[in-house]
Amino acid sequence: MQFLVIGLGRFGKAVALTLASKGHEVLAIDKDESRVTEVEDKVSQALVIDSTNEKAMKSLGISDFDYVIVCMSSNMEASILTTMIVKDSGAKKVVAKAGTEVHAKILKRIGVDKVVFPEAEMGQRVAESLSSPKIFDYIELSEDYSIVEIVTPDVFVGKTLAEIDLRKKYGLQVIAIRRKVPHLNEDTGQVGYDTKVILAPGPDQELLKGDILVVLGETPKIEQFKKL
């Protein structure tokens, strides 16, 4: 796929480099030359362009990209202007980063396909994980449903999913199990480990100490489960 990443601050740089590492074609632009230099060897093309310059932007052939990602959020005016220019230039899909609620609202109004709010989302995840040390990650799917990654409570270790029957007792669905599996390196005699993901685990799956359960369910029921 082809991506245009606009704004190469910490967020934009991470987006551009991750997409490039996954084999996508990435054009990364920023008005700051030093930021462009930092990524130019790692993406398909990197250019010094002021994204609020309509003429320069239109010369990029914006409608050829599958996604345009507007990553600057500290300068709300530039972010909005850039978004309007890329929309006007026929961008197929636009993802934009918002810095504040008002910024997010405006981006939605001008027709952005997806607004991302990394600070707020990350803040929520960190707070969730700190408030319960057993929680590794937290994704709110809607107001009612969430997915959490939680360390298997000790009371469940050695039991099968059928025995603990989370669906019946808590209305929760275990959608995957992340497990670290130790192995012995025959040459060095050292123990190492690999991380294995068991997707859609069956009822006979036994839980081991340290297993991370990826659980989907209604948020209040997840809250109950966290207290175990």
Binding site: V151, K180, P182, H183, L184, G189, V191, Y193, K209, G210
Partner: protein, 83 residues
């Protein structure tokens, strides 16, 4: 039991995912030889595998106390601190 035998036994239980037994044998080694690097490292790794990160960090730090240039322990510790 000799230290080498205890370590063998502990590692066998570790890779068999019998973590409680493995922990017990690694700790036996440390009772006999508190600075045993292999036992300290493996115990740290066991705690990492079982997601007991505070203990894992403590034991990787102990590895670095006896072997400050141990790169593997340093890498694990850095990774755990980022979590």
């Amino acid at each position: 039991m000799k230290i080498e035998d205890l370590l063998e036994e502990a590692k066998f239980y570790f890779v068999s995912q019998k973590y409680d037994l493995a922990e017990k044998f690694f700790k036996e080694v440390l009772k006999k030889e508190p600075g045993n690097k292999e036992a300290l490292f493996n115990l740290a790794l066991l705690y990492e595998v079982t997601n007991q990160f505070d203990q894992a960090k403590e034991y990787f730090e102990r590895v670095l106390e006896v072997d400050p240039s141990n790169k593997e322990a340093r890498d694990h510790l850095d990774k755990l601190t980022e979590l």
